[in-house]
């Protein structure tokens, strides 16, 4: 009897578990040139062209994921992404690199990301911390404002850039 019950139990559990896992993971492969955002809730206003994602927000691009608690996306009138604000435990992950901050903003006009609220970028063993880090996506420039701390990995040591007033 036991030999019958155990396989049956296994099949039943598998039947419950597999769809649950499939639902949780979902298809988060972004289309070419696109991105996927998942969350617990979305409030959208097509008149003011805003979309507010809240609760376990996950934005997935190719080779890129962003997690946060709330994300507000402002669109242009023709439906293009104009400005994004991600707030609350923002984590940006890429292969070999992870960034943490309290708030991350994307500005389409300058194609830049601005990380604030204790941002830090850990690139392999190298770490950069500053009150504000601006990353220009296409030109590959990174600018920090305020006192910047750069920790070089591989046991090299720490180099702290002196603070300069940005203005």
């Amino acid at each position: 009897m036991k030999s019958c019950i155990l396989p049956l139990l296994f099949v039943t559990l598998a039947g419950w578990t597999v769809p649950a896992l499939a639902q949780t993971s979902g298809d988060v492969t972004p289309p070419p040139g696109g991105s996927i955002i998942t969350s617990d809730e979305l409030r959208a206003d097509q008149v003011s062209h805003t979309a507010t994602f809240s609760g376990n927000v996950l934005a997935v691009g190719n080779n890129f994921t962003l997690r946060c608690q709330e994300m507000v996306v402002n669109f242009t009138k023709d439906g293009k992404v104009d400005h994004i604000t991600a707030k609350g435990d923002v984590v940006i992950e890429q292969p070999g690199r992870i960034s943490h901050c309290g708030q991350a903003e994307y500005f389409h006009e300058d194609d830049k990301f601005v990380l604030t609220d204790q941002p830090s970028i850990l690139d392999n063993k190298n770490k950069i911390e500053a009150p504000k880090i601006t990353i220009y996506r296409t030109s590959q420039q990174m600018i920090t404002e305020g006192r910047t701390k750069t920790t070089l990995g591989n046991g090299v040591g720490t180099a702290a850039a002196p603070a300069k007033n940005p203005q």
């Binding site: 008149v47 934005a59 990353i135």
Partner: protein
């Protein structure tokens, strides 16, 4: 005489109840209670222009103000063109308020995005909606990836010698530029990597500017 007064009173009460269930007491179309309409279509015009087209395989009036629709499709129009399409296998329609509510999955499609969720509350006149549970939005025209510039492309190739000619947006702030972390000797990482800033591990090269305060004692 008494039955006449009572019947008039009843009629007044019924009309009052019906009026109270419409916003501002406007005369709005309703689906008769208890009746089912097959191949249901309900256009809504504003200033002579088609704004919303409700379509369903069937719509059944469940209350004086609510209809239960199956295989619902809502087209939102702007300047005579469909801008948004909302579909749901089963949803409640609040005709007077022009709201749609469902807990049976919804798909909202636009040219630039596609949104799906388990439940939805859609305010059609104001074009506002809330999605709950398993919300998934596909932004078709926004690639969140930190792009890797390609030679001849929009972004410059990361050639150190040609760095000053980079068409990079000039920073408005006079903040110090972070020294390239590729100062750390690493056989696997060239000093100037052609990858984008956050695309390739360790590629903080091509910042085009000398380090503001290069660490002099970088000795592994």
């Amino acid at each position: 005489m008494r039955p006449l007064v009572l019947s008039i009173g009843t009629l007044v009460l019924a009309l009052g109840a019906a009026w109270a269930q419409t916003p501002g007491g406007r005369l709005t179309p309703q689906i008769p209670f208890g009746q089912t309409f097959k191949d249901f279509h309900f256009p809504y015009y504003e200033n002579g222009q088609l704004k919303v087209m409700l379509s369903a395989v069937s719509a059944k009036g469940t209350t004086i103000n609510r209809a239960e629709a199956t295989e619902l499709k809502i087209d939102l129009y702007d300047d005579g063109k469909i801008t948004t399409t909302v579909t749901s296998p089963k949803a409640d329609l609040y005709i007077a308020e022009q709201r749609m509510r469902t807990k049976n999955t919804v798909l909202i499609e636009r040219a630039d995005m596609e949104a799906s969720a388990q439940s939805c509350d859609f305010d059609l006149p104001n074009k506002r909606y809330q999605l709950h549970e398993n919300v998934k939005v596909v932004l078709k025209s926004f690639d969140a990836t930190f792009k890797t510039p390609t030679p001849g492309g929009e972004a410059p190739a990361a050639a150190p010698a040609a760095a000053p000619s980079s068409p990079a947006p000039r920073p408005r702030e006079s903040a110090p530029v972070i020294p390239p972390l590729s100062l750390v000797p690493s056989p696997s990482l060239p000093a100037h990597n052609s990858g984008s800033l956050l695309d390739t591990p360790g590629a903080y090269a091509n910042t085009n500017t000398a380090p503001a305060n290069p660490p002099a004692n970088v000795n592994p």
